[in-house]
């Protein structure tokens, strides 16, 4: 019998493509060539399977997007690295159906219940992580003191979400590099020590 983690490895892929509601113990067992009872013994119910799948997707996101950031210096370098790692993660097609959390967010937002709450909690954690790193960059003198952490976290998050949308619906990966460039530009524009090209908008003669 395959282990729980091997089953979850497949369930995150299927759920990213077909949605969290599309996930079922029966279809997952079919897909893996397992008896339904084996999968049932490990997860008990569809609700459990969905929550375990979300937890697995969170781990994958942490390892692809957050861990590379933690390997960089805190403050501005870490914030820059998180943006690059997010874009790399989108370009690498880690999930069959694009960013798992982007898809789960849109799917669950109108379905009250524990699964929706769990998706919102993971997304809250992500936005909180961006905000905390922005505050940290301000405290360390990397970003200007008048930077609004919540508003900047909103703008940074928007870029990755839109890149995922453009790739998944429009079959157009160009949004990923637009997002990467805009993420860097956003940090430059609010940098306490702007790079020369960010200091004065291009085309302005002082």
């Amino acid at each position: 019998m395959r282990s729980r983690s091997a089953i979850l490895e497949r369930s995150v892929q299927l759920a990213s493509r077909d949605g969290m509601e599309g996930l079922s113990i029966g279809s997952l067992a079919d897909d893996l060539g397992l008896h339904k009872s084996s999968v049932h013994a490990l997860f008990g119910s569809k609700d459990e399977l969905q929550l375990a799948t979300l937890a697995q997707a969170r781990e994958i996101l942490l390892s692809h997007v957050v861990a590379p950031g933690l390997a960089s210096d805190p403050g501005l370098p870490r914030l820059r690295r998180i943006g690059d790692a997010w874009c790399d993660y989108l370009a690498a097609e880690v999930f069959l159906g694009g960013c798992f959390l982007c898809a789960a967010s849109a799917e669950m937002d109108g379905r009250p219940g524990p699964l929706r709450d769990a998706v919102a909690a993971v997304m809250g954690e992500w936005i909180g992580l961006l905000s905390a790193n922005i505050r940290n960059a301000i405290e360390r003198g990397g970003l200007r003191a008048d930077t609004d952490p919540a508003a900047m976290a909103f703008r940074l998050n928007a870029l990755g979400m839109a890149a995922n949308w453009q790739k998944q619906l429009m079959d157009d990966p160009s949004g990923i590099e637009n997002a990467r460039a805009a993420w860097r530009k956003e940090l430059e524009m609010h940098s306490a020590r702007p790079a020369p090209e960010a200091r004065v908008p291009h085309g302005h003669v002082a």
Copy 2:
């Protein structure tokens, strides 16, 4: 018997909340207290109903977001107005489940077929409209000549999508005003005649 348009008025609301796949002739008839056969006579199949619902959602978006823009002067004023109108539309909760097209994009992106193609066509039209207005603003001297229309359209679209996400999943409407401010700032930063506060980043002493 209620008219086709009255049925569609309800189906766009239900689909925005429960998804395009959640839509069915039977459930729509139940919701409206109609005989299933009456709804069936008007739409024939679930596929037809879904496509007609999407077309109705497109009309609603045109009237709420695009039409106010067309009432403004072409170029930069029109582009600014479209952003305000999009934010107003999100704040007004025009659809039960938030922005119809944002939800439909995420739902359909992994489901090949005519409905997915139709959703992508409407979104392509929207991005095309933003790009065309950006090009127009460049030609009229409102935006700098080195502005990349596709990249700017990507960034502007990202703001509204993220505002919708934050409102729908996080029950937090603050993203709408973040999006409005960032949309205006984006236009200011690329303006050929920047406002004094946009000319030099705050905190920079020339």
